[in-house]
């Protein structure tokens, strides 16, 4: 069989919510990752409410890209589409790459299903519906056939069909099924017959592909030149959770999380709840206000305290954020952005909470804001948020989004000792204690744990004396305090990494600036430009408040600065206001990052 080497491949698995597409996708991803390819994934759940089986609304998808180079995104257009029923086909076919192919379960193309999907006639018979390569395979019947000797109900047999599909794909991409088989045995340790059945079907799938004359070639994706080390696949929400647990441990503190479920942030709460053996305590509050307030109460008591939410929840936390600012307590607020305004598009991604994060509270209430750029980066930025919060005694907002939270990628597991040391010292010395005396370098006040003898003090939301922390209505003192709270945050600029340029270090034609989850799509496109010899560079901002000190310097080196974001230009507004510099705002608000074309549309004009 001839083998064709490929640089990278994008596969989208689509089927009914019950078809197990998320599982199939992640199993394929893991098997591929084990061969050393780089991987990025993105599930696409049906919108909030479960719809009747077989309908478009009920389609669940999972996209992944694997490659022999660093892959930064789950890919714009799939090279392969797995469609387990007509609705899955209909919902996804338009995204297929020009030379992509479809793999479908012909058994699912019954009249009833075709009708439910909203097709007028069988799409497979109508060539014109898609002039794409299609492999119509009787997946369900082959599965049942393979299991005819198994003494399990028909329903259970049918549920194995996704492993048949997996088998076919394993063969096409020359992957071993070892990992998968091990996983099945473990997963169904208590029901070995189910493990056996799935394994049987998986193998039959591989055999079917090999024996069928359909497939002219096997594709081979070689391992990517990744850094040496141990890897695992993590979603952004999982990584955020792990990062927060890690930050607490590195600080020598116990983690406290106060949260309220909300899509797409809930998994962080669910992840952290699993790590009670670190002494972690979580509370699912009655509402978002309870979530942040309990975190503030825990922070006051000496916890590394966090709260996690998405846009509407952040809105509800606005008032309490101000309390954390004025009482100068460390707190990490994770906001996993979703489509707005209001309830908006809860399952879609967006970057439109930036200005809310910056300004969504009464009075002058400055707060550091940072953003993660990829699922694995969520881990590191959770630690960075913790570092800033604890060192500067301030609430910090970490922005991620639905795309990062649900998406996953290969995560190089760090050695714990290489991670930053965030050790915290509580004040215990009774002499000369002043609640609002500041460290001259960080401007942070000291942290005292209630329970400490001799340091009893009272804090609160009213303006306070710059030294004693007692309530003060003095006008001059207020002016001073407003400015010092701002200065404390501005001052963090001295303690963060410079903005890095990917591309022309000395400057050039176009600089594309991005932040957050658009990292991968911008980087990919810029990389292509550079391969074509074009002077396009990329700078991705992690620290948004304050900006890195060299931000203006970097921008000035380029003739044109494009700011690309999934909103109407929020980072752009911050940059213009701060640096008074002409920029070009590139906006897309469609619940997903830029495609290469969309970037080209603007950047090509500037070259």
């Amino acid at each position: 069989m001839n083998q064709v080497a490929k640089d990278h491949v994008v596969i989208r698995f689509a089927g009914d919510s019950g078809d197990g597409m998320q599982l199939t996708g992640s199993q394929f991803t893991n098997s591929s990752a084990l061969t050393g390819t780089d991987i990025v994934t993105l599930p696409d759940y049906p919108s909030e409410i479960r719809a009747p089986a077989g309908t478009i609304d009920g389609v669940s998808g999972f996209q992944m890209q694997f490659g022999s180079q660093k892959v930064n995104t789950p890919g714009d257009y799939p090279d392969a589409l797995v469609a387990m029923n007509p609705a899955a086909l209909k919902a996804n076919i338009q995204d297929l790459a020009r030379d992509g192919y479809v793999l479908l379960d012909i058994d699912a193309f019954t009249e009833r299903n075709i009708d439910k999907a909203g097709y007028v006639e069988n799409p497979i018979s109508r060539k014109s519906l898609f002039d794409k390569k299609a492999y119509s395979i009787p997946i369900t019947s082959q599965t049942l056939e393979a299991l005819k000797d198994f003494d399990i109900p028909k329903k259970a047999k049918e549920r194995c069909k996704n492993f048949f599909t997996l088998g076919i794909l394993f063969w096409i991409y020359d992957l071993s099924s070892d990992f998968n088989i091990k996983w099945l045995k473990k997963k169904f340790a208590k029901k070995p017959i189910i493990a056996e059945a799935n394994i049987k079907v998986l193998k039959e799938g591989m055999i079917y592909a090999q024996n069928s004359s359909m497939f002219q070639a096997q594709y081979k994706i070689h391992s990517a030149p990744l850094e040496k080390g141990t890897y695992r696949n993590v979603s952004g929400n999982q990584a955020t959770g792990l990062g927060l647990v890690t930050a607490a441990e590195r600080a020598g503190l116990k983690l406290f999380l106060g949260s309220y479920p909300i899509t797409p942030a809930t998994e962080i709460l669910q992840e952290i709840t699993r790590h009670k053996n670190f002494g972690t305590k979580t509370t699912q509050s009655e509402d978002e206000i309870g979530g942040i307030c309990s975190a503030i109460g825990a922070s006051w008591a000496g916890a590394f305290a966090c709260t996690t939410t998405s846009g509407p929840g952040l809105a509800l936390k606005s008032e309490a954020l101000g309390l954390a600012v004025i009482t100068e307590l460390p707190l990490v607020i994770v906001n996993v952005q979703r489509g707005g305004p209001s309830t908006g598009l809860p399952t879609k991604t967006e970057q439109a909470d930036l200005l809310q994060a910056m300004y969504g509270r009464n009075g002058e209430a400055p707060m550091p804001v940072i953003a993660a750029k990829s699922p694995a980066d969520c881990f590191h930025q959770a630690i960075e948020a913790g570092r800033i919060a604890l060192k500067y005694m301030t609430p910090v907002i970490l922005l991620t989004d639905g795309y990062l939270g649900n998406g996953s990628e290969a995560f190089k597991i760090p050695k714990v000792n290489d991670l930053p040391d965030l050790t915290v010292k509580f004040r215990t010395d009774k002499d000369n204690y002043q609640a609002y005396a500041r460290n001259p370098e960080t401007l942070a006040r000291e942290w005292v744990k209630p329970g400490t003898p001799g340091l009893m003090n009272r804090v609160g939301g009213l303006e306070k004396d710059f030294l004693t922390g007692a309530v003060s209505h003095d006008p001059k003192n207020h002016d001073k305090m407003v400015r010092i709270r701002q200065e404390k945050v501005d001052n963090i600029a001295n303690d963060i990494q410079d903005l890095e340029v990917f591309g022309d270090q000395e400057g050039g034609e176009v600089l594309v600036i991005g932040w957050g989850s658009t990292y991968g799509s911008i980087r990919n496109k810029v990389q292509k430009y550079r391969e074509e010899g074009k002077s396009v560079s990329h700078a991705h901002i992690t620290h948004i408040n304050p900006f890195p000190k060299n931000t203006l310097e970097v921008m000035k080196k380029f003739k044109k600065v494009v700011i690309a974001e999934m909103n109407l230009g929020q980072l752009d507004k911050l940059i213009r206001a701060k640096y008074i510099i002409e920029t070009i705002s590139l906006n897309k608000i469609q619940g997903k990052p830029f495609t290469e074309n969309e970037i080209a549309e603007v950047v090509d004009e500037l070259l």
Partner: protein
Amino acid sequence: MSEKLHTLTKKDYSSGSDVKWCAGCGDFAVLTQVQKVLAEIGRPPEEYAFISGIGCSSRFPYYMGTYGYHTIHGRALAVATGTKTFNPDLSVWVAMGDGDSISIGGNHFIHTIRKNLDIVCIVIDNQIYGLTKGQFSPTSIKGQVTKTSPSGKRSLPMDPVALALGAGVNFVARTIDRRPKQLAEVLHKAYEHKGFSLVHVLQNCIIFNNGAHDDITNKETRDEHSLILVDGEPMIFGKNKDKAIVLEGLNPKVVNRNFVDESQILIHHERAKEPGLALLLASMRAGKFAGSKTVEKFPIPMGVLRNVEEETYDSITTEQVEKSIALKGKGDLQSMLNSGDTWEIN
């Protein structure tokens, strides 16, 4: 604890700050009794955390010589949930006004009760918004004329005690600023009770709602209008102890003590497992419910209505942590990071 334990006095629990309530405000009495009771309990001041919201009464923490947090309007219990759950060793006390606790703070009120967080919660109820200068509160009576109800308040009052029972409270007491002894007694019991302990203190705002509780504080009327609950004792009241509460079917009834057999008089049992008695007492809402078609007038029950115990939220949380450690071993960061399906790149 400090080595040389001098005998702690009320003063040890005072921050020494100037107290800025209006002269004659009922809040003073509450402050005094709390400080006195803490001295009697004898734990060092640093082991207490006083948390409040916003309102006249919420200035409370500033005057206590303990740790204190004057938070935002309505959120004291939410903040306290974090403090106590995180550090159950602290003795956490919350002080709030009627508006703070059951108007804007109502959701945290019912849910902190439901969770059974082990704290003492003092609701200081003057049936008015003091700090904002005289608007009605949920506990104001129907028809009450205030700055925001010039034609009279349009709804019946909400009773913090009944609401708390509806939310499943296990300890609840009612008392008043003008009964310092009962206040102190009740505070002691609230402190001793494991779990959420609600102390509802009727308080006089001399400026904006003066005399709201006159019927139960005036010498002439108070004995007819209050029913002092004593555990294990029959419910008798009146200046001449000539009135009693009996049961008529499921409903309480006021009778002349002379006309009933002593054995018919209801006996108070604050530790009754079933909530029936406490619910019945809570349903006795004195003259305050003017305008209601369904509520009879009764003397207002004062003292501990209910005092039973259930597991507390903070202790179960700690238990779950301990169980997890027992099961999985103390968390090791590197193993946590390396868990799940991993692979090596060499």
